[in-house]
Amino acid sequence: MSGGTRLENANPLIFQRSGERRLTATDEDEDVADPIDDREIFDIFSKSINDPEHPLSLEELNVVEQMRVNVNDQESMVSVEFTPTIPHCSMATLIGLSIKVKLLRSLPDRFKIDVHITPGTHASEDAVNKQLADKERVAAALENSQLLEVVNQCLSSRAM
């Protein structure tokens, strides 16, 4: 990841970040319950997950978009599609894992979390999706301290 090694995608396109969510009057109202919505989930990982290759957030690289996040608060379902920057990106599994871990840590237990690649954007889409959907494999991956280290680095806040 340092400057010395060759980057897979050395010159990615960069996208504008969406602004901060506007605070509304109901947000401050004690009595109104705010349901968990797409934007909230999007904010969770768009700002706080970094790309493993670049010092940029996933939002800036357009890996995640708000329209590809679907939440159903009542049925406790979250589904996230992410788009690797290039079709052969070897980091796709890692990015998916980071998103999954971040959601696991940030959402209440009741949610069922589904993370997969935007259809048609990656060469080995099915394999990656299968790995990400397999609870056992995710759990096993997080037992591996080296892998956990990389994931944690992706999840560390950028201001160091």
């Binding site: 340092s2 237990d109 560390s156």
Partner: protein
């Protein structure tokens, strides 16, 4: 004398044989202090032991002598010193067991003020010849460095006479030093050598080698370190050594380039900061050779880094280099190194500004800005190269109208300009040539819909206005039109604020344009829906008398229409607040003030233009409509009267009226305003009999009201008491203690207690509308600290003796006081207050919880040592509060839990599992704001102690 001697001999014998340790030394030093026995006596008493053939015995003897010397070195004469020095220097050749004691003694001797000439040189020669410093123990090495330091203080000339031998000796003795405490001393010696002009001779490289092997410093103090040496200290003192002389340049600069390749972030930052420090001492000659290498390393760091620290260190290194190069005097045949360096920078950065994907625009712009900001010449060169290119780029983009990159580049251009303009070096303006196109960029940005762009553009406009000659008359008019449009049409609060600010600053410079264009438009619109914004804008542009003359009638007109009751209550209040700021900002407000007083006291409205209502309305009548009006007037008079320059007519009559109203009026807003106004006047009143009389009268009245438990006016009396206390506290008036004591006593009042506790918030925080420095109130510095220092014990005692149900009032008062104290004081006072604050956290009053949390949170960011023992209690209370029924309490407690994740890992790791479990609950909170905080905090706690985390 003889008897003394024999006693002494006995004691020495005991000490030497090792039977008694302290007694002999104490007795001997004690008696030598009384100068019954001088040191030479002691010396001769020790003779037997000093000449013993057993090294241990000799050691004991020297030890005793050294201890004596440490106590009484100041009383030695030059003669005695000579003898002792000769003895000690000779002892350096002795057995190794003795050396530590010898060094102790030598250290004591070097601190004498009457060292004989030549002794410093001979001491050093013996140390350097006879000792191998690095094979000594830590304490002895430290002794050697201390000897060097004290000799450098007292015998600088002699040591300089030693020349390069001294440097060589020092290099040899320090080579291989590992102890951080000793390193600090060694760095100090080296710094002295460099800064005090010791000749380094041919040992420049040796000295550099022996020092630079520690660079960059990587040191983490052991957790139980009693010496509290920080990495920061070491880094700074080493940096002072390395950057102290330009003779090191040819060794240091390659080293910096090498270390910038390191993977460790702190090493990079340290290298960059060291480079920036070099900029202060070096000249272009030293730098020239290494500029390409340095630049490519810095560029790589700024372009590739993810860390703001590295980036800002890199930028300041560029600034330092450029300002160093700009400072250098050129000889006729050398080339201009600044030009060379800047062309390197421009070559690497400029094309990024024009690249279509804009990936490196920001780093490039920052680098160029750092270079341009360093000196006038640099800004000239950089601007001349960059601005035309940017403008061209901008013009091309506008034709194509490709979105987000268009706005992006526009923003870059603007930011660059504003930064450039705001820099003081560009006084006689590099930008005149581009003035036209720059204005058109700014104006087009003002018409964009992006709020951020508009805010930036108004910032640039303000900056343009500040530079003479950059805004032509026609441009000013255009700018005013744009501003007027934005004031009337723009709903975004950030933009409105920026526009109003910009109008204010431009109106100060170009009043005519504003009078002729802005004010008439606002006059038309002032009764429409955007009245609020119009009035704000009017208030902000009214800083010059000529503008006020135009704007005041409009505002008075609104006041008049307010009187007819067609507008809502609140808009009138806000209007009057603005009206009064206007009054106050207008320097010669005395005429206004007298009008306001007459309006207030007599209802005289005759001075209003277009006098449309009957004069002589009795405003003090308790008529409902007028009641409201009175409130505004009090408020406005609060402001205008408290302006220091304004002479207030009939002040005594006014004070009596205000006191009366504040004690009797039943309306909350009215009596509070009256009390505030009264306090503002009292605060400003010069000390003297008049003031004392007023205070005595009001105190009596307050006491009477407060003592009458059944009185309906107790709240009013308390409000007045509170504000008067504040007025007096701010100016350190002697009566203030009596008043605040009254407030403390009221804390246990069953009816008023809670209000009184909240009153401490008023007392300690800055009030926005009155009694602040902007109102020219008499505010002494650090009144909060003083108040806290004088009263904290009273409060704690009060708390301890209070009944259970009254305790919460004390806690609330305490948390208000503490949360308003400056951070530094909070940190020092926290150990004493921590138990009380923890108590406050478990207090049922939610306001207390909230203010305690808000006071704890900043403290937890830099936690004091005292918190360690309280972590268990702290965690259990904070975690309990994360499910409080009040949203703000939940948020604040989550922020505290987040802050705790930054404590040293070993302290908080035991709580990790518990915190993670507890934070799972607020993740499902019904309020989004709470969930976000919980999510952030939980994320940090997950990273704690996990590989790749922190």
């Amino acid at each position: 004398m003889a008897a003394d001697n024999s006693v002494l001999l006995g004691l020495v014998e005991e000490f030497v044989s090792g039977q008694v340790d302290s007694k002999a030394a104490e007795t001997v030093t004690g008696s030598s202090e009384k100068s019954i026995v001088n040191v030479i006596h002691c010396f001769s008493s020790c003779r037997l032991s000093l000449t013993s053939s057993q090294p241990q015995t000799r050691g004991r003897g020297v030890q005793l002598l050294s201890q004596v010397l440490q106590e009484c070195y100041s009383s030695l004469s030059e003669k005695e010193l000579e003898v002792l020095l000769a003895f000690y220097e000779n002892r350096l050749k002795d057995h190794y067991v003795i050396i530590p004691h010898v060094l102790q003694g030598l250290k004591a001797l070097t601190e004498c003020s009457v060292l004989p000439p030549g002794s410093a040189v001979s001491i050093l020669r013996s140390i350097f010849q006879d000792l191998h410093v690095q094979s000594l123990m830590v304490a002895e090495r430290s002794c050697v460095y201390n000897i060097l330091i004290s000799l450098m203080e007292s015998k600088e000339e002699e040591l300089k006479g030693l020349g390069a031998d001294f440097i060589f000796g020092f290099v040899q003795s320090v080579d291989g030093e590992r102890d951080p405490r000793n390193l600090l001393l060694a760095f100090q010696v080296a710094r002295n050598i460099i800064h005090r002009g010791y000749g380094l001779g041919k040992f420049v490289e040796e000295l550099f080698e022996v020092m630079s092997c520690y660079f960059p410093i990587d040191f983490s103090p052991p957790p139980s370190d009693p010496h509290r040496i920080t990495q920061e200290e070491l880094v700074l003192s080493l940096r002072a050594v390395l950057t102290g002389t330009s003779q090191f340049a040819k060794f240091l600069l390659p080293l910096i380039i090498e270390k910038l390749d390191s993977d460790i972030q702190s090493a990079k930052v340290d290298s960059l900061q060291t480079l920036a420090a070099c900029g202060l001492t070096y000249s272009h000659k030293e730098l020239a050779e290494f500029l390409p290498g340095l630049w490519s390393s810095i560029r790589r760091e700024v372009f590739q880094t993810a860390s703001e620290r590295v980036e800002s260190a890199g930028l300041s290194a560029v600034s330092a280099l450029v300002s160093c190069l700009s400072r250098s005097v050129l000889s006729s045949d050398s080339e201009d190194v600044l030009q060379v360096f800047l062309s390197l920078v421009l070559k690497d950065c400029q094309h990024h500004l024009c690249e279509p994907d804009l990936k490196l625009v920001w780093p490039s712009a920052k680098l160029l800005q750092a270079a341009a900001g360093a000196s006038y010449r640099a800004s000239l060169i950089v601007s001349a190269a960059v601005i035309p290119a940017l403008l061209e780029q901008y013009n091309n983009r506008t034709q194509v109208r490709s979105c987000p990159s268009l706005t992006n580049i526009l923003r870059t251009v603007l930011m660059y300009f504003s930064l450039c303009l705001l820099h003081k070096h560009t006084e006689d303006s590099v930008l005149v040539a581009f003035q036209q196109s720059l204005c058109s960029v700014v104006f087009s940005a003002l018409t964009e819909s992006s709020a951020g762009l508009q805010v930036t553009a108004t910032g640039v406009l303000t900056a343009l206005g500040q530079q003479p000659g950059l805004l032509a008359q026609t441009d000013v008019e255009k700018a005013v039109d744009h501003l007027t449009r934005l004031i009337l049409e723009e709903d975004d609060t950030k933009v409105s604020l920026a526009v109003v600010e910009c109008s204010g600053s431009l109106a100060h410079l170009h009043p005519k344009a504003f009078i002729s264009r802005l004010i008439p438009r606002l006059k038309e619109e002032i009764l429409s829906a955007v009245r609020q914004r119009c009035v704000t804008a009017l208030a902000s542009v009214s800083s010059l008398p000529s503008v006020v003359q135009e704007s005041a009638p409009i505002l008075l007109q609104v006041l008049a229409s307010a009187h007819t009751g067609t507008h809502s209550f609140y808009s009138k209040i806000s209007f009057l607040i603005i009206f009064s700021t206007l009054l106050f900002s207008y320097r010669s407000a005395s005429r206004m003030a007298s009008q306001a007083v007459s309006l207030f006291l007599d209802g005289d409205v005759s001075f209003l233009p277009e006098n449309a209502f009957p004069s002589q309305i009795q405003l003090l009548q308790k008529h409902h409509l007028f009641e409201r009006k009175k409130q505004h007037l009090w408020d406005s008079s609060c402001h205008s009267f408290t302006s220091r320059q304004v002479e207030i007519p009939e002040i005594d009559r006014l004070l009596v009226q205000l006191e009366d109203l504040s004690c009797t009026c039943p309306h909350l807003f009215s009596y509070t305003s009256a009390a505030k106004c009264f306090a503002g006047l009292v605060n400003k009143r010069p000390a003297g009999e008049a003031l004392d009389a007023v205070l005595e009268r009001v105190m009596k009245r307050i006491s009477v009201e407060l003592e009458n438990v059944s009185s309906a006016q107790r709240t009013q009396a308390f409000t007045l008491l509170l504000w008067v206390s504040k007025a007096l506290l701010l100016r350190y008036h002697p009566l203030s203690t009596a008043l605040t004591d009254k407030l403390f006593a009221l804390l246990s009042d069953p009816a008023l207690g809670s209000q009184v506790a909240d009153g401490f918030c008023v007392l300690m925080s800055d009030s926005l509308d009155v009694l602040n420095r902007n109102c020219h109130a008499d505010v002494r510095i650090m009144y909060r600290q003083r108040f806290f220092a004088e009263n904290s014990t009273k409060l704690i005692q009060g708390f301890n003796s209070a009944e259970q149900e009254e305790k919460s009032c004390y806690l609330k008062a305490l948390s208000h006081i503490v949360s308003n104290l400056p951070r530094q004081i909070q940190l020092t006072e926290l150990p004493a207050l921590l138990p009380l604050l923890l108590e406050a956290l478990s207090c049922a009053d939610q306001a207390v919880q909230l203010s305690t949390l808000s006071c704890l949170q900043p403290v937890l960011l830099e936690p004091p040592a005292a918190i360690r023992n309280q972590l268990e209690a702290l965690f259990s209370r904070l975690l309990a509060l994360t499910t409080s029924p009040v949203m703000k309490v939940r948020i604040a407690s989550l922020q505290c839990v987040h802050a705790l994740s930054r404590l040293p890992e070993h302290m908080v790791l035991p709580f990790r599992a518990r915190v993670l479990k507890a934070l799972a609950v607020p993740l499902d909170d019904k309020k989004r704001l709470v969930r976000i905080k919980a999510m952030v905090a939980r994320g940090e706690w997950f990273l704690l102690g996990s590989p790749g985390g922190k």
